[in-house]
């Protein structure tokens, strides 16, 4: 095994082009487990910790450019207002020690269906900035996940940053596990209200071969909220609408039975989380509306 230590992003891209089998390591919270257990013996290990700008973020007008290695701890501490869904999801990642090292770039690189960041990214709307010596491109998050632990990266590409849309409404994240820490999600659900476009977006984790959106459920809910005038009136979401939304989210799943849970449990739990996160976010939207109307 060779240990590559690029001192800059350009050096990292050059090294990846020269050694496409090189495994990038940043927080190491996935890669080192595989090496410690002899599941993986990469020819080259490429340390990205020395590429400083991977650990930085910028808050722009429309979105946040989040460096691939920004640790979850920093997201929780600094981006709660801009990226509430991702901040909530970050807080459920493993333990403080892991959150101090791991970042969204690693979640995307590993592309496990159980990665905690994925439902939040899907719900908020995001693009993954990847680059190689051939050039840079942005992959919409919906097109990034290609299969179980497979993503849209070419062999010579590295993940540089994620551009996540700033929240324009309430967002929530929910995760099922046996305790509040050190849990790989049995399943997880992210939901974001986008009052500006009057749309709702979802993200489901650990209940299909890849992280997915519940598109039929989103379309149903968008239409129901629009037709019922809910965005303007701020009425509570009708229980029958919430139930139908939950059922459609459950139906979007394509889960498996495994040691963490059965497929039918996962489907059921996703439905419950969908209904709850819709209620939480909608209540928060109504509360914010009442405040602004009260002030006017």
């Amino acid at each position: 095994m060779d240990f590559l230590r690029p001192a800059s992003w350009e050096e990292a891209l050059a090294a990846k082009a020269e050694h496409p089998t090189a495994v990038p390591i940043a927080g190491g919270t996935d890669v080192m487990v595989e090496i410690n257990f002899d599941h993986r013996r990469p020819e080259y290990l490429m340390d990205l910790n020395r590429v400083g700008d991977l650990s930085e973020w910028e808050v722009g007008e429309e979105s946040v450019r989040l460096g691939a290695s920004v640790p979850y701890t920093k997201i929780m501490e600094n981006l709660r207002a801009e990226l509430p869904g991702l901040a909530l999801a970050s807080h459920t990642v493993a333990s403080p020690q892991i959150r101090n090292r791991g970042g969204v770039g690693g979640n995307l690189g590993t592309a496990s269906p159980a990665g905690d960041a994925h439902p939040a990214l899907l719900a908020a709307g995001a693009e993954v900035e990847v680059e190689s010596v051939r050039g840079s491109r942005r992959i919409p998050i919906d097109e990034f996940y290609k299969g179980v632990k497979r993503n849209a990266l070419a062999a010579d590409e590295l993940i540089r940053a994620v551009h996540v849309k700033k929240a324009d409404g309430p967002q929530q994240f929910s995760k099922v596990g046996t305790r509040n820490a050190m849990v790989i999600a049995v399943c997880a659900f992210g939901l974001a209200l986008h009052p500006r476009t009057r749309t709702v977006r979802t993200g489901i984790g650990s209940a299909a071969p890849t992280p997915i959106r519940a598109r039929a459920a989103e379309e149903f809910l968008n239409a129901a909220l629009e037709e019922g005038g809910f965005w303007d009136s701020g009425k509570i979401v009708t229980p029958s609408v919430a139930k139908q939304f939950a059922d459609l989210c459950a139906a979007a799943c394509n889960p498996i039975d495994d040691v963490r849970g059965t497929a039918s449990y996962r489907r059921h739990a996703v439905g419950v989380m969908a209904r709850r996160t819709l209620t939480w976010t909608w209540e928060s939207y109504r509360g914010a509306r009442r405040l602004t109307e009260g002030a006017a």
């Binding site: 095994m1 919270t29 990469p42 290990l45 020690q97 101090n100 050190m182």
Partner: protein, 193 residues
């Protein structure tokens, strides 16, 4: 490969390091510092917790090559680290813990009954006083994690303590004595004891 880094305030180098080796392995097997414990090797248990540039991390998940030029504090250096922090920095310029002292560090002092002769970090003393140590395997990681939390948050609520220690598993105590120990250390810290 060779790795140069600072351990407990002193520059060290480790030779013949395999490229896939963890920081934990380097500390235990190359530098003779077995205080950080090797249990799960997958970041689940926290018994290998050390500070890397001040931040608590699982040393089993840090590749050795990643620590080149960086600073690590292990449980063996915790007493000196805490002392230096209390004194507001290193006045003499010769602080930290030498490798030999770290290798020979033990909680028992020259008098095995009273512990006299060994200086403990306040969190270490609190663990002893509260009876928070049983088999002791999880203790080093808990000490490093708890000490860092008290540095950040001198007056933690129980929920803060639980959260800060949520990455450290103990299979003996049921955590109650550990909670007591951290509360004790926090109380002593706020009273300047």
């Amino acid at each position: 490969m060779r790795v140069h880094f600072t351990v407990n305030g002193r520059p060290q180098e480790a030779d013949d390091v395999w490229e896939g080796e963890s920081l934990l392995y380097v500390l235990r097997e190359r530098l003779g510092l077995p205080g950080s414990k090797n249990a799960c090797e997958q970041g689940e248990c926290g018994s290998c917790t050390v500070r890397l540039d001040g931040v608590p991390v699982c040393s089993c998940l840090v590749a050795a090559g990643q620590v080149e030029g960086r600073e690590v504090v292990t449980v063996e250096g915790l007493a000196d680290f805490a002392k230096q922090r209390a004194e507001g920095g290193c006045a003499s310029g010769a602080c930290g813990t030498s490798l030999q002292n770290a290798q020979e560090w033990q909680a028992q002092g020259t008098d095995s009954q009273t512990g006299e002769g060994t200086e403990l970090a306040p969190i270490q003393q609190a663990f002893i006083d509260a009876g928070a140590v049983q088999c002791g395997f999880c203790t080093p990681g808990l000490l490093v994690a708890a000490d860092e939390m008290l540095e950040r948050n001198p007056n933690p609520a129980d929920a803060d303590i639980r959260e800060a220690l949520s990455g450290n598993l103990c299979r003996c105590t049921g955590y109650e004595k550990i909670m007591d120990a951290v509360r004790l250390a926090a109380a002593r810290q706020s009273q300047g004891v």
